[in-house]
Every structure is written in structure tokens, then in C-alpha cells.
């Protein structure tokens, strides 16, 4: 049930990012709901599930984008794993943890993706990309941190203590 819920959530996130949020974007930036789910999966389930969900969802997202297939898989696997690794080391029940981890995790994920894109010859401007995409996406993602966190918690009565399963 938990696994199916996460898969369905990721599929819905992908479709919403491709349709609804393309028109309802803030300063031209849409939320990266897939990254929010990856980070919170890591936070709730631990390092291995976070990395696996990050890798697979990143690969699917890369395929939908059609370029640099694997770059998103690496960046999302990294933040999913890192979030899972951090979970037992931070106070998982504190109200500030999910939005804070989503904020920092999104910034890291987007920045790693930008660096990978640059490394593989993309013309994306580094400093402009940082200010116009990396920072705003992190802020937009924070808005979705609580709804997605509690949806994941509700899914199959997942324990609230972050990372204890991992």
C-alpha cells in the first residue's frame, strides 16, 4: 500500500508538473513535487528507500524531459539518500523539520543538476540559473512540504519518527 501510494503520488506529481503547474507557476518557476516526495520518502523511510525512489523517479522525470537522461536520477538519488541518512540524526517530529529538509534538499538537488548539466555541455547560465531557478524552486517546494509529508505519513500508518525504518 505504502509503495503503491508513493508510486501513484510520483505519477500524479509528474503529470501535474507537466500540465497544471506549467500555467500556475510562480515567477516562471513550477514546484518540483517529485523532489519533495523523494526527500520526504528519505526522511520517513531512511537512506536506501530514499535513494531508490530518488534514482527511479529521477530517471522517469529525465525521460519525460528528454535530455540528460540520468542527471536527475543522480541528483535525486543523492538528496533522497542524504535525507534518509540525516533522518535519525535530526529531531524527526519537530514541526520545522519537513519544510527545512525540503528547502535545503531542493536547493542541493537543483544545484547538483545544474552542475551536471553544465558538465555535460549545456548552455545553462550558472549564476542566473542559481538565482532564477535553484533558489525559487526551493521556496515553492516548501509550500508543498506539509501536505505531502502528512499524506505520506497517513499512507499505511507510516511511523512519524523519521528514518527509524531505514
Amino acid at each position: 500500500m505504502k509503495k503503491l501510494g508513493i508510486v501513484l503520488g510520483l505519477a500524479a506529481a509528474l503529470v501535474l508538473q507537466s500540465t497544471f503547474f506549467s500555467l500556475w507557476a510562480w515567477t516562471g518557476v513550477k514546484p518540483d513535487l517529485v523532489t519533495v516526495i523523494v526527500i520526504l520518502t528519505g526522511l520517513l523511510h531512511g537512506l536506501a528507500p530514499g535513494s531508490l525512489v530518488g534514482f527511479l523517479s529521477g530517471l522517469v522525470l529525465d525521460y519525460a524531459v528528454g535530455r540528460l537522461i540520468g542527471a536527475g536520477a543522480v541528483s535525486k538519488m543523492l538528496v533522497g539518500g542524504l535525507s534518509g541518512w540525516l533522518a535519525p540524526r535530526i529531531f524527526g517530529d519537530h514541526l520545522a523539520v519537513p519544510p527545512l529538509v525540503v528547502l535545503v534538499g531542493t536547493w542541493l538537488e537543483q544545484f547538483v543538476y545544474l552542475l551536471l548539466a553544465k558538465a555535460f555541455g549545456s548552455n545553462l547560465p550558472l549564476s542566473k540559473g542559481f538565482w532564477t531557478v535553484v533558489l525559487p524552486v526551493g521556496l515553492v517546494n516548501v509550500v508543498f512540504a506539509f501536505p505531502i509529508y502528512y499524506a505520506l505519513v497517513a499512507l499505511g500508518q507510516i511511523p512519524r519518527q523519521g528514518g527509524l525504518e531505514g
Binding site: S18, L68, F120, S122
Partner: protein, 269 residues
């Protein structure tokens, strides 16, 4: 053998890393050719996109109606008057068109329309914030193919990059891989318009050593573009950079089409 068996997790990780690096490298510039099963996947996902896209349009429409009701009422009155005026102009244009055709026939010119427009709706966009593209609800089944120009009445949008039977992916003019020939309307100077990766900006680069380009200049497609028909509006120059010694001119062009908000397009096949 024992050495390998003892270290298989490390070896598998290294192998996977190499495969992944290879995959990123090979797909860095996109994949215009889709395999048959990929085309089937894209065709089967299209209805899901259409449903969500329809819901988005519906929401967008009604939120817009509620927000702008009084302004729309006033705008409607002005537009009705404009329609009347345009109708009269259109009658005059019909007359001139007929006159033009008669004169061309008298001179022995053959007017052929090279491109047939096909109306299409945008059903999805790239899920990424980094690389934008749009997916339209027309594909090979409608006679579209890679390279066909995509436009709106306001100007150039992009070109078809990959197709399935019922959908096509459009590379927008702001894509960092996009480049095409254009002309500065005021001077006729040939230039290249490149995508910058940003939705609101294109880069202009000169095709000849000395060009005259100023802020406010209109840019249109040229016959040399190889992709778009001649004379389609592209954008307006908003900033000119003459370089350190005034010899390496480049400029910023803001596209006429609001690439973030387009809903309907025409494909010129």
C-alpha cells in the same frame, strides 16, 4: 574469481556509474528519434495529459473570468467596435488580394503556398524547470514531421523535434539548442537568433561583420533560416552589447510570443 565475488557491490556500483555517465553524455542534446515502444508509451500517455490540460485550462479560464469580469466587459465593447472596423478592412484586403492575384497572373508569376497550417493544442510541457518543451495534440497521423515550424499569430514558437502517432514534441525558440537565421527589419541585416534557456529572452548574433542593430528593432525570420518561412515576427531587441572594442556585437531579443502562456499553435507542414 574470489576477489571479484568479494567485491561485487563495489564493482556493480562502478559499472552502474559508468553506464549512467554514458547515458547522460549520449542524451545531453536530446533524442529526436524515438523507438517504436517509446512512441506507443507517448501515445498512451497523451490522453492523461489531455484530461489534466483540459482541467487546467478550465480552471484558468474561470479564475480569469471572475478576476477580470468588469475589465472584460469594457474590453468587449471596445473589441466589438474594432471587429466592425476590421470587417470593413477585410473587405478591402479581399479586394486587394484579388487584384494582386490578377496582376501576378498577368505577369506570369506562380503563387504557391508552401506551408499548410495545422491547428494544434498544447497538452503538456516539460516537467522540468531547466529545459522547456511543449507537447501538442497532433502527430504523424496528422502529417506532421520533425522540423516543421510551429507558430502563433503573434510570431514564431519553435519547431517539431520528435513525433509519435498522436503527439509531437516542440523545441521552443528559447531552447539552448535552438538557432535560426533572421533579419533586422529596419536594416535588413542578417542575424542568428539563439535560445538562451530563459523563457523571456533570445540571443541575437550577427551573421556579417558590420551590422546595425538598436534597441527597439523588430526581428523577423529570414529565408535563410531553413526552418521557418520568411517574414514571421520573432521579437524585439531590448538590449545591445557592443563588446569591449565595439566589434563583437550581440543583443537580447524578447520574443513576441509569450512562451510561458501559449495554449494553441499552428504547425506549418
Amino acid at each position: 574469481m574470489r576477489w571479484i565475488m568479494g567485491r561485487w557491490p563495489t564493482l556493480v556500483t562502478i559499472l552502474a556509474a559508468f553506464v549512467l555517465i554514458g547515458l547522460i553524455y549520449l542524451t545531453a542534446d536530446g533524442r529526436p528519434q524515438l523507438s517504436p515502444w517509446e512512441r506507443k508509451i507517448k501515445d498512451s500517455i497523451a490522453p492523461v495529459y489531455r484530461v489534466f490540460s483540459g482541467l487546467t485550462d478550465f480552471t484558468n479560464h474561470w479564475v480569469g473570468v471572475i478576476r477580470n469580469y468588469s475589465r472584460l466587459q469594457k474590453e468587449n465593447e471596445v473589441l466589438l467596435q474594432e471587429i466592425e472596423w476590421m470587417k470593413r478592412r477585410l473587405d478591402r484586403v479581399d479586394q486587394l488580394e484579388q487584384e494582386n492575384a490578377d496582376l501576378r497572373a498577368a505577369l506570369g508569376f506562380h503563387f504557391t503556398r508552401d506551408h499548410q497550417p495545422v491547428a494544434a493544442e498544447i497538452v503538456a510541457r516539460s516537467p522540468s524547470n531547466w529545459f522547456d518543451k511543449v507537447v501538442i495534440n497532433r502527430g504523424e497521423g496528422d502529417g506532421l514531421k520533425a522540423g516543421d515550424a510551429v507558430v502563433t499569430p503573434a510570431g514564431v514558437v519553435g519547431r517539431i523535434y520528435a513525433t509519435s502517432n498522436t503527439t509531437a514534441e516542440v523545441m521552443l525558440i528559447n531552447d539552448d539548442r535552438s538557432a535560426f537565421g533572421a533579419t533586422v527589419v529596419r536594416t535588413g541585416d542578417p542575424v542568428v537568433i539563439e535560445g538562451s534557456g530563459s523563457l523571456s529572452e533570445l540571443r541575437l548574433k550577427p551573421l556579417v561583420k558590420e551590422i546595425d542593430v538598436q534597441t527597439g528593432d523588430q526581428i523577423v525570420t529570414s529565408a535563410m533560416s531553413g526552418i521557418y518561412p520568411q517574414g514571421l515576427p520573432v521579437g524585439v531587441v531590448t538590449a545591445v552589447d557592443k563588446g569591449q572594442y565595439g566589434i563583437s556585437i550581440s543583443a537580447i531579443v524578447v520574443p513576441h510570443v509569450d512562451l510561458a502562456r501559449i495554449g494553441q499553435v499552428f504547425v506549418l507542414k
